[in-house]
Point group: C2
Chain length 325, copies 2
Amino acid sequence: MSLDTRVSIAEAEQLVKEAFLRNGVKEAVAESVSNALVAAEAEGQVGHGFSRVKDYLAQVKSKKINVDAKIKIEHPKPTSISIDADYGFAYPALDQAITEGALTAKEYGSAIVSIFNSHHCGALSIQVEKIAKQGLIGVMMANTPKAIAPWGGKDPFFGTNPIAFAVPRIANDPLVIDLSLSKVARGKIMHAKKVNTEIPEGWALDSSGKPTTDPDQALKGSMLPIGEAKGSALALMVEILAATFSGGRPSNEASSFLDPDGDPPGVGQFLMFIDPGKDNGSFYKRLEKLLIDIEEIEGVRLPGNRRLEVINESSKLGLKIPDYL
Amino acid sequence: MSLDTRVSIAEAEQLVKEAFLRNGVKEAVAESVSNALVAAEAEGQVGHGFSRVKDYLAQVKSKKINVDAKIKIEHPKPTSISIDADYGFAYPALDQAITEGALTAKEYGSAIVSIFNSHHCGALSIQVEKIAKQGLIGVMMANTPKAIAPWGGKDPFFGTNPIAFAVPRIANDPLVIDLSLSKVARGKIMHAKKVNTEIPEGWALDSSGKPTTDPDQALKGSMLPIGEAKGSALALMVEILAATFSGGRPSNEASSFLDPDGDPPGVGQFLMFIDPGKDNGSFYKRLEKLLIDIEEIEGVRLPGNRRLEVINESSKLGLKIPDYL
């Protein structure tokens, strides 16, 4: 994959969209998928960006991704929304989740949305940031194909099961936190495999439970969780909210997001929306005070600051795009 | 502190309650505080159990804990509940939070409760388990006096900012997860100080930023977060939900939960309630399948299993109670 051509973000969205249109994906879906992949690429999350296009297209061809998905939305209770993604792409379901969740939270104060029969949801930062841009606090969790062994075990069972959080700010971009519960994001290992580089020791174990620097062996083995038993417990919490509660397939039964073989992964996502509430003004004052206090500490940066710099750079310089696009 | 006398859980609750009654705490409040402390002791969380009685009483005497607190509850939106604990004990406010939150979530599908002007909330496991015993999924977060340095810094700023989660099960006790974002719970270091033992290296740094095994030096220094920058980011998320959102005092400005001096800590707590929803039956089936799959893995135990064993043991054998009670 050569990455020599630079294009603007808008051009990249168009190019990626066209690649999906050429393969039988409908206009609105192609646009949603393209926007999410380009946004991830533009913020430096290359494991959730252009590198996914070929994998997605192969899954469209093998019908592992349902291009005729009919998204079904139910409100089992006023603030609880359940979305069946019908084994299509996750992004159009997430778009609807955010629209419905935000409307509900503005009316009721909070809302939860769970998505099932879903697929790879990319960079969670993109989704929670959209919630924050509507003036709401956003939390998102997702389960993903098995990667982390439960503490004490040696075979993968939980996904890297990311947690993301965003909060709106008055005069700044939202504060965005996005982290997987493995020591590093699985996307980083997948990217290392794609560009043929080694990974540092300590990120993962091979299939026999030994440390490895080979990304291929790491992907066949298991990822180490943050905080030992604590990270494993958090991965179980995410598993229960994102998969068990939603009706999504558990991580240990979900097929790969990468290759075109097998059943659809059918994983789940969980989103929470919180209205900062009646005393909005004081909330934002308290938030700015807290964040400024943190930024003033020597050696400390706010989470997500590097992300904003990369987005800014991408907007100015454009994105390096693979030739096949 | 001698711990030679064993009494039943009911007797312990009575003894602890009487200690508070003797010091001018009202009946209902004394009962709520006593039940929470004894429950923590009975599940082995000794840092949140009997060891707190003397500290609480000293704070009652110095008026750092307001024994005349009038809890005020507001519903700024239908599913968003805000509780002013009025600088009293946290437990009576938590009791009301759980009653109101559960009622709301059963009607609307979800609810959030934030508590401010609050105090030490003890073992979060006790609170989320109560939510699960009402048939709801519970999540709780709390901010606590500064203990963890933001990643890259060396002085404490965030509390140990615990996260807890509980989910109801059909034929078993709820699954309960409760963890602080420091590598170990601060309560463990405080207990080590009380019983005069060293702590293992790797738990904390002293005030100059060096590793220490002296619990006293560790309490004056900073705790290490799980997952390096990731744990620090999660601590910020908890800070924003439990303190900034609720209107509680930030961890870096909250006074000690332990000594009788200074202003009240005024921290906050955040609770989320989720109704498992319309397809309740399938939810519980999926949950049992997941938990059984985990328990069948060699070397792996469910989080909270040890806790249930200790509770069982405490019920059978009674609790060792300090002589002064």
